[in-house]
């Protein structure tokens, strides 16, 4: 049965919402923790919520609160944020070639690019979950679904954390820190099982990141982007040898 354009877009948007549910669940505890921390630094609850809604970058927000409290100047904090988030330029470049949609739509959707939405959309589209055809391409509607539910998790979690800072159970908060990593691993393992080349690229990315962080003392943002570019370059060279 052929679906009409609008119906198909709605179906893709719903698929995105479903796929993004794991990100929502991963963001909630991190965002709640951010809300709790923000409320304890003397910022108004509203200001903490605005930071999550506008900045929408997990690690940078934690870092900014830290620096803000220790009296670091505003331009320095902004520069540190830029450095930590520059890796998203690489992810956005990959997505710019794969999201189907007009440039205006893609510019709008780019606000929703995070480490998590990037890997979820690019990898679920490569390995397939749900019907094969529905996930092969990253339609604008599916990316929007993933982005909307992820963003909701981040903002709702922050507000929840500022309001209920005093009554949250510590054990639950600590254990849920694993959730985003569990999601990353659940995304990666099926692809690794399928292809030795993918397994090698991922392991190389992990090993390089570890070396760059611990031996070369790179900051987390640069370390991830450098390790990613080197490991994917090795993978591309391998691929060339394999296929052509």
């Amino acid at each position: 049965m052929a679906l009409g354009g609008a119906q198909r877009e709605l179906a893709q948007f719903r698929l995105g919402l479903m796929q993004g549910l794991s990100i929502f669940l991963g963001y909630l505890p991190a965002a709640i923790a951010f809300g709790v921390l923000g409320a304890s630094t003397g910022l108004a609850n509203f200001q903490v919520a605005v930071m999550s809604a506008w900045v929408y970058a997990g690690a940078s927000q934690f870092m900014a609160l830290n620096l803000y409290q220790s009296g670091v100047s505003t331009p320095e904090i902004i520069l540190a944020t830029f450095v930590l988030n520059f890796r998203h330029a690489l992810m956005s470049t990959v997505l710019s070639k794969r999201i189907q949609g007009s440039r205006a739509i893609r510019c709008l959707l780019s606000f929703g690019i995070t480490d998590e939405t990037f890997v979820l959309t690019t990898i679920s589209s490569s390995v397939g979950s749900g019907s094969e055809e529905a996930v092969r391409e990253i339609t604008a509607a599916r990316f929007a679904g993933v982005a909307v539910i992820a963003y909701s998790g981040w903002v709702i979690g922050t507000v929840f954390g500022t309001v209920f800072a005093d009554i949250l159970p510590q054990l639950a908060m600590k254990s849920m820190g694993i959730s985003i990593y569990a999601m990353f691993i659940a995304l990666l393992v099926p692809s690794m099982k399928k292809s030795g080349r993918i397994a090698m690229i991922a392991l190389l990315g992990a090993a390089l990141n570890w070396i760059l962080l611990s031996e070369l003392k790179l900051s987390a943002g640069w370390s991830v982007v450098t390790a990613t570019m080197l490991a994917s370059a090795c993978g591309a060279l391998c691929y060339k040898g394999e296929k052509q």
Binding site: M51, I78, N85, Y181, F184, A202, S232, Y239
Partner: protein
């Protein structure tokens, strides 16, 4: 007021790197080698995002608990379980271990 200036500045600092590549002309064709390179980026990024961050995922310390949660997730994903079940199980294993130790 100063805090809003900080937030607005940070918002630009996070949005600009996300936005810039999307401004590239729509029909711009990358050379084949660059396309091949970019196709591998998600897997390399996943590896780098998982490790060693997973070791500090539980309370910023206790690397063994992070590792335990990560290995749990890996084994269940290997068994082909749904992503949400993998997620819930990893949280449960870490919570259980935290409450014992």
């Amino acid at each position: 007021m100063k805090i809003y200036l900080l937030i607005a500045g940070m918002a630009l600092a996070t949005y600009i790197p996300r936005l810039l590549p999307m401004i590239l002309p729509e029909r711009l064709q990358f050379p084949a080698w660059l396309d091949r390179w970019l196709q591998q980026v998600p897997y390399a990024a996943l590896g780098a995002l998982i490790f060693p961050g997973v070791l500090t995922s539980v309370d910023g310390q206790q690397p063994w608990l992070g590792l335990l949660g990560g290995v749990t997730a890996g084994l269940l994903a290997l068994a082909g379980l749904n992503i949400l079940i993998v997620l819930a199980s990893a949280i449960a294993v870490v919570a259980f271990s935290l409450s014992i130790f």
